[in-house]
């Protein structure tokens, strides 16, 4: 089953509703979660509104602002239901109703405390809160912001639907009971919390890109969803270079998808790939983002990994790869985010530049010695993807 929307094979007249669902579900849930202060109420309301749309749009036609229609309908439906249920619904529901009568359903511009106001941004920080387990963060993000059904998420992660449903119920209960706020974190907490959000998006992407199990279509959809959320986040947080860096990294990696599998379905490594099958428009978009990042001069791990991919995507053949530049970038990566994987990849680059002997010495020393090889004396190259030294933070920073 393709995971593209709530209706597996929609009749033509429902196509508009399905398109609106994919495009607007996350936004509608985010707005309603703010209005009612409760994710379950928000989800039920938005689902009611889409059900209503499926009934009415085919006859009455799609309204001029489908998103606004969905949000208004959802809000009214939820208010009606909470009123009808009255005191029986409990204090929590009554509080939600009171809150909804005071909260505007439009994007709230007045708050001013957080750097960005979009409701989806609040919700993504809620979904990726460090108080939630990693699996719960991924599931919530795909469910609430991606609009994937529980069945679709379960299918994508190869767990029974009941298991996924329970995971989502528990996560939402924790958000409610522990009081995880719908808020973009204060400036002081933002870097750490944003790193958590980016990690969730990259995890969703990598599940799609590197997973060895699961059907191919479902895996491709996970990548597409991660990129869609990455684009959204980049639009909402234009001043965060690591957000652009992650988006660029995903785009440049995704550009090689078609070339990654041979006719027999086996994995084709970078050096053996047919580069004519790389997606040039994704490469152009990714490279443009990397260049933007470089102008900002605040390199971080995602930006540097994107830059490494930009070098590969520049090279017409594997043999023509500018390994000098890749080596410098790995040096930079090891300063901001030292890891055994990065150290090993750097050794591969070093083998290309200085020969296998030098690389083997480094690999032998990986287990014991700390890594430190400032990139020096590299030859100038046709196109520079590395950061200028003047913009580079010192190691002590």
């Amino acid at each position: 089953m393709p995971i593209s929307g709530p209706v597996a094979r929609a009749p033509a007249e429902l196509a508009d509703v399905e398109r609106a669902f994919r495009a607007e579900y996350g936004r509608a849930v985010a707005v309603l979660a703010r209005v009612f202060g409760d994710i379950d109420i928000a989800e039920d309301a938005v689902q009611d509104a889409f059900a209503e749309a499926a009934r009415r749009w085919p006859q009455a036609g799609q309204p001029p602002r489908p998103a606004g229609w969905i949000i208004t309908t959802a809000r009214n439906r939820a208010v009606d239901r909470l009123r009808r249920e009255g005191a029986r619904a409990g204090k929590h529901a009554q509080a939600a109703l009171l809150r909804a009568q005071e909260e505007p359903a439009e994007a709230n511009e007045a708050e001013g405390k957080s750097p960005v106001q979009d409701d989806r941004l609040r919700l993504i920080f809620t979904c990726c809160h460090p108080a939630l387990g990693s699996a719960a963060r991924v599931a919530l993000t795909l469910r609430l912001l991606g609009g994937l059904t529980t069945a679709e998420i379960a299918h994508a992660f190869l767990v029974p639907e009941a298991t996924m449903a329970q995971r989502l119920v528990r996560a939402k209960a924790k958000i409610r009971d522990a009081g995880i706020p719908y808020r973009v974190p204060a400036e002081a907490d933002l870097p750490g919390r944003l790193a958590g959000v980016l990690a969730v998006l990259y995890l969703i992407f990598n599940e799609g890109y590197t997973a060895s199990s699961g059907d191919r279509l479902a895996r491709a959809d996970r990548c597409a969803e991660a990129i869609r959320l990455g684009r959204l986040l980049a639009r909402l947080m234009p001043d965060e270079p690591e957000v652009s860096g992650l988006l660029a990294l995903m785009l440049l990696t995704e550009s090689r998808r078609a070339a990654r599998t041979g006719a027999d379905g086996a994995l084709v490594l970078l050096a053996g790939q047919d580069r004519s099958r790389w997606d040039r428009s994704l490469i152009a978009e990714g490279q443009a983002l990397v260049r933007q990042c470089q102008r900002r001069g605040q390199p971080g791990p995602y930006q540097i990994q994107a830059a490494i991919n930009a070098v590969h995507s520049d090279s017409p053949t594997a043999a023509a790869t500018d390994w000098d530049q890749i080596l410098v970038l790995y040096d930079q990566l090891l300063i901001v985010a030292p890891s055994p994987v990065a150290a090993l990849n750097r050794a591969v680059a070093l083998a290309e530049v200085d020969g296998p002997g030098a690389a083997l010495t480094v690999v032998d020393g990986l287990a014991s010695a700390p890594l430190d090889r400032p990139g020096q004396g590299t030859r100038p190259s046709a196109r520079t993807w590395r950061w200028r030294r003047s913009t580079w933070p010192s190691r002590a920073a």
Partner: protein, 93 residues
């Protein structure tokens, strides 16, 4: 201890402080257990374990992030892990 006092003072000044308690060592514990209409009294602790609760703060916080900001100060002050647990709101139906 001085650091913990400082956190308490800050909590009080912010109006977030409700109660602070430090506990004696676990071998001072006594355990009571109701079973078969009787109450059994034994020496503690319950459960036995390498790690035990050494004390607690009860604070008022608007949401988890606010509580975590206090817990961050608390764990630095007492140099031990701090677990944050929401209390059931008894006014909720």
């Amino acid at each position: 201890m001085r650091d913990i006092d400082a956190v308490d003072r800050e909590l009080r000044a912010a109006g977030a402080w409700v109660f602070t308690g430090g506990l004696h060592a676990p071998d001072t514990a006594t355990v009571l257990r109701a079973s078969d209409g009787d109450v059994l009294v034994t020496d503690g602790p319950y459960p036995e374990g390498k790690e035990h609760v050494g004390g607690f703060w009860i604070i008022q916080a608007a949401d988890l992030d606010e509580a975590l900001a206090w817990a961050r100060k608390a764990t630095v002050a007492c140099t031990l892990p701090v677990e944050v647990r929401p209390m059931v709101d008894m006014t909720e139906s």
